[in-house]
């Protein structure tokens, strides 16, 4: 036996590309019984600018993790309003895995998520507000600290504030000093809030 050389795609291209690749067909293939066909459809839909709605719709039903992952990659790549709205809708899902996947995807879309962040942080559902703070954890956007300050200054829910103050322990600067002091005053009977705010203040002082 030995080393053999062939063109890497010899025979593969023809044999595997049996399905139509136009946008309408690809959207239909999102419901194909084969995981592999669904993955490839989701992947190729990255070139179809109006496909976000179909991808989101499939994402909610999709059980296979590898297909879900590529749908999320494509939605992130498309990054249009429908894609972002679809990801936001996943934050309300009862499926924890789907919620976490949506959070991870939204972290990769700082410019697209920024315009709706204030709104998310004021959502009537406190869980959604916590997930919004989770997104801020690694969102590369200059307003992250400002948003966190808004939360700890105004949010009435202790768990939302606790999540935000934890993050301020990592990203806080002197800009957050007053808001952190005010937070302790707003929740005087919550020892965790005092502890986390003091920790954040200490880190700001030594930095």
């Amino acid at each position: 036996m030995a080393f053999i050389r062939k063109q890497p795609t010899n025979g593969i291209e023809q044999s595997k590309r049996k399905m139509e690749r136009d946008c309408a067909s690809l959207e239909l293939q999102l419901s194909d019984p084969s995981h592999s066909a669904r993955r490839w459809a989701a992947r190729d839909l990255a070139d179809c600018l109006d496909s976000s709605a179909a991808l989101v719709e499939r994402l909610w039903r999709e059980q296979n993790s590898s297909v879900r992952e590529i749908i999320l990659t494509t939605l992130t790549k498309l990054g249009d309003e429908k894609a972002v709205a679809g990801l936001v809708s996943c934050l309300r899902s009862e499926d924890a895995a789907l919620r976490n996947e949506a959070i991870e995807a939204m972290k990769m879309l700082p410019d697209e998520v920024a315009p709706i962040m204030s709104q998310l942080l004021k959502d009537s559902n406190s869980d959604v507000r916590i997930f919004a703070v989770n997104i801020l954890e690694s969102l590369r956007h200059e307003k992250v600290e400002e948003w966190l300050n808004e939360v700890i200054e105004h949010d009435a829910h202790v768990n939302v504030c606790a999540t935000a103050v934890d993050l301020l322990g990592e990203v806080g600067t002197s800009y957050s000093w007053e808001a952190l002091e005010n937070l302790k005053a707003r929740f005087p009977d919550e020892p965790y809030i005092s502890f986390a705010a003091d920790l954040a203040l200490k880190r700001i002082r030594v930095s």
Partner: protein, 279 residues
């Protein structure tokens, strides 16, 4: 008047280059980027960034974009770099793959990025020297890069002292011929590797890359941003056979990129595996 690149122009170029290649330049790379842009503006007689950018964006052949990509990509490697993974290849990964394989079809290995070929040739050498299975199995080694110039160099197989410094002397003597200036790799090894041009971010480029048993992608993802890493992880997943292995560089981890791979801790190295029951 000397050509300069303004901050706005840098941002504009960075965004464009990222969309085309997935390579993201941090602000700290400004000098590196400006230097190469100015070099190409001069070489193409474009006078200024604006004219050059029009060529880059609208040239039908894409030749200038390819030339610039060649200049912007880092090509630094050497033979037997991160050798522990090659040990893992022959002692753990290949035995597992061959024990599972029912039909006698070739073992397929993809090395990306190829850079000047050191990794792909190291794999070939390692198999010949340390894997008895080479007498029983056919092996295909495919090595790809976005940089066409470096692929030509890889095919040529001429190496400096620096590239071969970690090779044991007996292997250097066996597989290379010194021509007074460079080390020429032997024809048998040159024939063992197929070098191809691939942009990992272009679905049309990678669509046909499938049915690999092992992929080496070391020290590339560190240059990518989160989304491009994720796309690369998806590409490798589709390129691998069920149970296939993915080897990353020592400072890279798939855990934060994708949840699709299982971590496999072998005695020589930690690698990532596509589930054996995956489609």
């Amino acid at each position: 008047m000397p050509i300069t690149i303004s901050h706005e122009e840098f941002l504009k170029f960075r965004e464009f280059f990222y969309r085309k290649t997935g390579i993201q330049f941090e602000d700290s790379k400004r000098y590196f980027v400006d230097k190469r842009l100015i070099e190409r503006i001069e070489a193409t007689d474009s006078d200024n960034f604006r004219n050059y950018f029009i060529t880059l964006r609208f040239e039908a052949t894409g030749q200038e974009l390819q030339t610039l990509t060649n200049l912007m990509t880092v090509n630094e490697t050497y033979f037997f770099r991160e050798e522990y993974q090659f040990k893992c290849l022959v002692s753990s990964m290949l035995p597992e793959i061959t024990s599972r394989r029912k039909k006698q079809r070739p073992i397929r290995i993809w090395s990306v990025p190829s850079s000047s070929g050191e990794e792909a040739y190291s794999i070939a050498m390692y198999l010949l020297e340390y894997w008895p299975g080479i007498n029983l199995w056919d092996v295909e080694i495919i090595s790809s890069d976005i940089d066409t110039k470096i692929i030509t160099q890889a095919r040529r197989g001429l190496y400096s002292d620096r590239s071969i410094q970690h090779l044991p002397k007996n292997l250097l003597d066996k597989y290379f011929r010194y021509n007074g200036e460079d080390y020429q790799i032997c024809d048998d090894l040159r024939q063992a590797v197929e070098f191809t041009k691939v942009n990992l971010m272009k679905t049309s480029d990678v669509r046909g890359y499938r049915e690999f048993d092992i992929i080496f992608c070391r020290n590339l993802l560190i240059y990518f941003d989160d989304l491009s890493r994720r796309q690369a992880a998806d590409t490798f997943y589709d390129a691998l056979n069920p149970g296939g292995f993915l080897c990353l560089g020592h400072s890279e981890s798939m855990s934060r990129i994708s949840s699709l791979y299982q971590v496999r801790k072998f005695s020589d190295a930690v690698v990532y595996q596509k589930a054996t029951e995956a489609q």
